[in-house]
Structures are given as C-alpha cells and as structure tokens.
Symmetry: C2
Subunit: 307 residues, 2 copies
C-alpha cells in the first residue's frame, strides 16, 4: 500500500477510467478519486457504483487540488478539455491521458498546459469492446503494457511516479517517442480495427446472403471480427482522424499484400499460400510465449480442451 497521489481526478468515467479507479483502490495508490463525465447520467452512475468518491458537473471543478489528472475521454476532445481545465490546475500537478494516439494529443493538449504542471502522455494497451462506467474492472491492466511518450523537457521525478502508478495497477511500462507509438499502434491495433469494421460492413451489405445466415453461421471466424467491430464508434472515429498518416501507410501495405495473396488464389498457387500461412502461425506462438494471449482454443470460449 503505497499512496502515490493524494487526489486523482479522472476526466471521463468509462471503461479505462473505471478500470484505473478499481486498480488504484486495490493497491491503495490514491488518497481520493474524483471525476467528471459529460452526461449527468454517467456522473450519477459513477457515484452510485462507487467508481469515484465524488463527481463534479465540470472538469474544471474536478481537477481542483488534484495532484494527478487523467484525461480518459475520446481522443478528439482532449484538446478542449485541456483548455478548460488549464486555469484550475494545482501547482505541480501531473496531467496525463490514456488516449490511443499520442502525437495528435500532444499537439492538442501541450499548448494549453501552464508551466507549473507536468504533462505526461501515456497509453495503456488494454481494453475490451465494452464501454461506459459499468465496463471497468481492476484486472484490465494486468500484464498489459502502458506506453509513455513523455516530452524531453519533463521532470523525470514526475514521469517515474506515474510509471510507478501504472506498475502498481498491474501494467508493464515502456517509453518511446510519440510518432513511433503511433506507427506501432497503426500496425497492432488501428489497421486491424479498420479491417474488422470493413469486413463486418461487407457482410452486412451482402444481398445474396441473408442477414440471419451471416449471424447464425458466424462461428467460423467472422464472429471474432464482430467483437472488434463492436468497439465504441466515437473512440474509433477519433483514432482514425488523429492517426491518419500511419494508418493510411499501413493500409497501403496491407492492400499490396492482400492483392498478392489474392493473385495466388486466382493462379492456384498453393505453395505461396502454404508458405504464408506457415509464417504467420509462428507469430501467434511468440505472442503466447510473451504472455500477451491465452493458448486456450478459441480464447478459452470453451470451458476446457481434452475433456
């Protein structure tokens, strides 16, 4: 039980904020946790379920006297919230965020930050397809990564304390520069999401295949895509609008490779297909060895194997 911050203000009270609140409580990391969300309904729910100790009608009120402020809102509103809270931030407060892109957030938030606060952008690589104040849980960050993209001039003592917070919430921490972060995430998250959204849209459109069939017969691969494509539309709109270059670059490479495999199918080149499929299998193995996914068949959807 190491209390790292006296008063934490969470702006946005959805999946990530809720999970942070629970993980901080579990480890006794914060003296008090307060928050603000856009709608009265979310604020009411957050208070009722004890997600936070107090809620405020405005972000400006919520950040008062907080030594840690975490922006847990969609990427596209980070800048306006930063502007709103700026005059109300305490001396030496740490301001952080959990947004899924980093360069655009730095560009939007940093100009508003007064000299007496420490802005430290971060991104936990952990989430689910659910959102809202009920979706959070304390284990979300366990053994997941939280990537920091601090600015060079930032006081290291504040970076280290925030890293300790994330470690004690269960995450592994690593630093990289914001542009590199955005490229890595374009590969491991943003492009896969766009592709899943595309495929699910195609299935929905198909005239010759009745909708009910696509749904009933989804167990053979498609349903995994629908989980990804069920993620919050606002969050993902903002991600794509704010990580445009990297996403478009990776999409370009994806299309090239897709056309190559498509040609192999058309030509009946079984060897090329087999070699490609063998190579990708090895990556799965590495991900399991790195502890980043379960080896249980179908992610363990079935109770057990070999019964």
């Amino acid at each position: 039980m190491t209390q790292l911050y006296n008063k934490v203000a969470l702006i946005g009270l959805g999946l990530i904020a809720g999970s942070m609140a629970k993980a901080m409580r579990r480890a006794g990391l914060a003296g008090e946790i307060v928050g603000h969300a856009r709608s009265a309904e979310t604020r009411k729910t957050a208070l009722e379920i004890g997600l936070v100790d107090a809620v405020f009608d405005t972000a400006a009120e919520a950040v008062k006297d907080a030594d840690l402020v975490v922006l847990c809102v969609p990427v596209g509103v980070m800048g306006s919230i930063a502007q709103e809270i700026a005059p109300h931030l305490a001396q030496d407060a740490t301001v952080s965020d959990v947004g899924s892109v980093k360069k655009a957030i730095i560009d939007a938030v940093q100009p508003h930050m007064p000299d007496h606060v420490h802005f430290i952008p971060a991104h936990p690589l952990a989430g689910t397809e659910h959102s809202g104040p009920h979706a959070g849980f304390a284990d979300l960050f366990n053994n997941r990564w939280c990537l920091f993209t601090p600015l060079p001039e930032t006081d290291r003592a504040y970076v280290d304390r925030l890293k300790q917070l994330w470690s004690e919430m269960g995450a592994n921490v690593e630093e990289m520069d914001a542009e590199h972060h955005d490229l890595v995430l374009a590969v491991t998250s943003h492009t896969p999401h766009l592709i899943a959204y595309t495929m699910v849209g195609v299935a929905d459109d198909l005239q010759r295949v009745a909708n009910k069939e696509v749904i009933d017969f989804s167990a053979a691969g498609f349903r995994d895509f629908t989980r990804i494509a069920a993620s919050d539309p606002t969050m993902w709109r903002d991600v794509f609008l704010n990580n445009k270059e990297a996403t478009l670059e990776i999409l370009g490479r994806f299309t090239e490779e897709l056309f190559d495999l498509q040609r192999a199918i058309r030509r009946g080149d079984g060897e090329q297909l087999f070699d490609h499929f063998t190579r990708t299998r090895a990556i799965r193995r590495s991900i399991i060895d790195a502890g980043q996914d379960t080896n249980a068949p179908n992610f363990g959807r079935y109770p057990k194997e070999g019964d």
Copy 2:
C-alpha cells in the same frame, strides 16, 4: 443413448474427428469407432489416447463393414481418399465428410461413389486454431451449426439419420445447396481468414517496427487476428484453392469497402466513419443474441467484469 451406427470409420484423426469421436461416445451413438490417419505417429497417438477403438494402416481397411464413414481430412485429399475407399465400402454405407467447402468436394468425391452407398456432404461450423489428435473435445459442436448439402437424389432416411447424429453430438442442423454454402462461408469464414493472414503477414514484414514490439504490443486487436492466422496451413491452403470464385468475389467487395473507408480517413470524414462503426456494432449484438458468441469482454479472456 440411441446407437445410430454400428461401426463408424473416421478417416483423418485430427481436431474434427477427435471431437466427433468424443461427442459420439458421450451420447452412445456408435457401437464401435475406428480410424485411419496418414502418419504412423498420429495413428499411434489416436490409439493410445483412446480416440478410436482401432486404427488401420490404410483407409481401405478402416472402412470395411462400417455403416458410417466420415472423411475428416483436408479438402484437397478428399477425392483421392474417396477413390481409394470406394471398392471397400459396405452395402448401404453412409459416406460423409466435414470439409469446409462443399461444391469442390462433391465434384471430387461423388464420381467415385458406388451406387450402393449414400454420400451426404456436411460441414460443422465449429473449430479452433488447434489441430491434430490431441485437439478434439466433446463440446466443440454444442450449439454450433452443421450444414448439410445433400444431393437431390439421396435417400432421405439416410440424411435424417446423419442429421440425428449431428444433433445428438450437440449441433443444430440445416440444409442448403452447396454453392450457397460456399458463398456464405466465403463471407463468414474464408475471407475473414484470408484478411487475418494478410494483416499478420504485414506486421511480420514491417521493417520500421521491430518484431518484438509487434508481439509485445499485440493486445490491442492484432492478437485476435493472430489466433485466426494460426490455423492449420494445409487446411486453409485447400480451402482457398477449392473455394476460389466465392472468395475472390467477397474479397472484391471487401476491397471496395476498404477503399471507401480509407478515403473517409484521408478526407477526415468523421461522420461516415461514425455511421459505419455504429452499423457494425449492431451485428455483434445479433450474434450474441443468436447464441453464437459470448458477451464476456474480450471473449472472457479476463475472469470477470465488474469485480
């Protein structure tokens, strides 16, 4: 406990055959279950773990006196096995298969079938990314669909008995024509697999993103793709080679839609992205309502939500 067949011969002793054997035993559906697989090693394993009551070195020996023969081998070898077993099939035997495409299998198998047997193609929409004799489990088919694509001239009594078998192994059964099956599966399974294989290949290739980063930071969407792209290379090579037209057609539609969303990102058209992402979310809901996937976040990889 309704014994439906006296002697079942499984040709191929991997995930699907193993799951069938266990599901048949659980419900007492077969008097005796025997089998054959290509390698001596798989045959030995299958016998040791009690997957079958007896194994044979050739498919021809295995099918002797069997009243049900199920071909559980990759799509590309169905034809040659059909040819090999044909002279050894018992009077009025039912011959079925579990292959992931149907039209190409009918074309490859049917010509070899003697008049005194009943060939009934079928496809259980259930699987995992694992393969081999250890991968099977009795619950695999529970509440999953098994699609039948019988030929019009087939004696209905034999179709009905095979349907009963699949029902008692836990599956829901439905009939459709083979071409329609192949189009539906191109949408719900084959194209999604090709896309996942493509994306994982792109990530593997990327020069600017070190391999370890793609693996460590895979939690955010990409790891779902790697599961799909870890499926057996032989099986999937054969699927694409044998469902070429439908897969290429769906891939064409996929590419169109992808380009459309790509343009929306380039133009910064947040409304189009938001509307698309909202529409796809509804499909997920229908799949969960249809009992074809879990609503647990991340497929229930995390023990529980809201702890």
